[in-house]
Symmetry: C2
């Protein structure tokens, strides 16, 4: 496993904190610098040993880094990668942890040029919990991290970023940024939108009767609204397309039930179960079988 | 806590098995008779110590029971309660564990008359796992069980069935059957329908990228399609009404995103989070805060 002398993490929330904690617990880096705006978050990151030192000065924080991981909200990633690229050593590699990729990769390529050593990443390992105090050293274990090299990205950079995520326990998948965005619209952004809509549509007076079904189905609605607003807006066309497809299936379900068409309702329930069971049995984390 | 000399459980799947296991582990009944159609299920129920003896003969199984709990699928409950009521001792109490209540309570009242000691129950403690091998002695711990006495139901029966579920660790809520059905349409049946529709609408090629969001939101779609077909059909009007309400919220969400109305999208995300957080913090099982 490649060891890093100095890693800088910009944004030490759940993801950034978990990266730092895993690097340190696995002995992969001696020096992990947490960079953030708020001293309270940085103090928490130090207290839970996710980082060895902290600073609110982005440029100073990345000045001696070999690897820089930008874990700020999607609307800030382009700015933070750009500033880090201008302040870091020439040999440093840069990546991010944003939930959308096409707009970030495109903006960085046009702003910074192809010589900046950036490879986009998206660890599929979230939680509705936030902040460095929620950091875990097994957050990436068995989880997929998508990396999205552009055509002109150096193969060496891609290999190094791939092995960085692998060293944290993740399973790395490479795909173009646009394909990534279409996929996560269906697997992550649409589920969030449905969970929120279900929570919104549930009358207050029935809430005492919710059980595991409602709790599971709405769980992600507990996520940070500002972060999700940015994600949904950034990936708007793909999310709307996934939503359109879902709405057709839901309409078909509703019509079958309205007409008491038992065969059709059963067919939909069976196709849904087959899909869910197939994923549950082969998801690397095993959580799908819970 | 009231102890029972003999309890008969008709249908020893997850719910029936868990009732038996909890009764035995808590020392609440010496004799628990499991009644079922298939010898293989009955053997599994004996092996996991959910029951002390088993039979495929319903009438013989209930002949000496003080309490009879019918845990078969919703379409069979009326028949099984009716047969048990005609074969059990005069002092025996009867209840069920069906996910819908109005049609069952109405049918039983008209078929058997008010002198039959039946009180409808619905333990809100499911799982997508099935069979007696999934039985747990803490399945009801901190969970809500709704009991739905009719106007003419004896207060003594209601009190006894209430304390039966309480003795298994559940928190009992009493409400009319029709109100129960409207509530669970929103809290259980609609979430199931959405989970299935989401699984159906997810393209196969993106399944390798699913993460906790999709896994949580679709988890209940792994439930038994035949059982859920019966539940959805039995509670059709209330489910369609909840679905209509949800579809309006979803449409509003989709339009706001399509028009890039950030304020409105944020508002919906925030209302959803408030609702989800409120439930997560006060759900007795604590699972909501996971």
């Amino acid at each position: 496993m490649k060891r890093w002398e100095t890693v800088a993490i910009i944004g030490v929330g759940l993801i950034g904190g978990s990266i730092g904690l895993t690097l340190r617990r696995r002995g992969l880096s001696d020096r992990v610098i947490g960079i953030g705006r708020r001293e309270t978050s940085l103090r928490k990151a130090r207290e839970c040993e996710a980082v060895t030192e902290t600073t609110t000065d982005l440029e100073a924080g990345v000045a001696h880094a070999d690897l820089i991981v930008v874990c700020t909200p999607v609307t800030q990633i382009v700015e933070h990668v750009g500033r880090a690229a201008r302040a870091c050593p020439p040999h440093a590699l840069l990546t991010d942890a944003g939930s959308t990729k096409a707009s970030i990769v495109e903006a960085l390529t046009s702003q910074l040029g192809p010589e900046v050593a950036f490879v986009g990443s998206h660890p599929l390992a979230g939680s509705e919990k936030t902040g460095p105090q929620a950091a875990r050293d097994d957050l990436f274990l068995g989880r997929v991290v998508v990396i999205t090299p552009a055509d002109q990205t150096s193969k060496d950079w891609v290999t190094t970023i791939d092995s960085f995520w692998s060293s944290l326990g993740a399973s790395v998948v490479r795909m173009p940024a646009a394909a990534h965005d279409r996929a996560v619209a269906a697997t992550s952004h649409l589920p969030h939108l449905l969970a929120s809509a279900l929570a919104v549509s549930t009358p207050d007076e029935v809430l005492p009767l919710v059980s595991t079904g409602w709790l599971d189905t709405t769980r992600v609605a507990g996520g940070d609204p500002q972060l999700w607003l940015q994600i949904l807006r950034d990936n708007r066309p793909a999310v709307l397309k996934s939503l359109g497809k879902f709405a057709k299936v839901l309409d078909s379900f509703g019509r079958a039930l309205d007409e008491d068409d038992a065969d059709r309702v059963l067919e939909l329930l069976e196709v849904g179960k087959q899909c869910r069971d197939a994923v549950g049995n082969r998801h690397p984390s095993g959580r799908g079988t819970a």
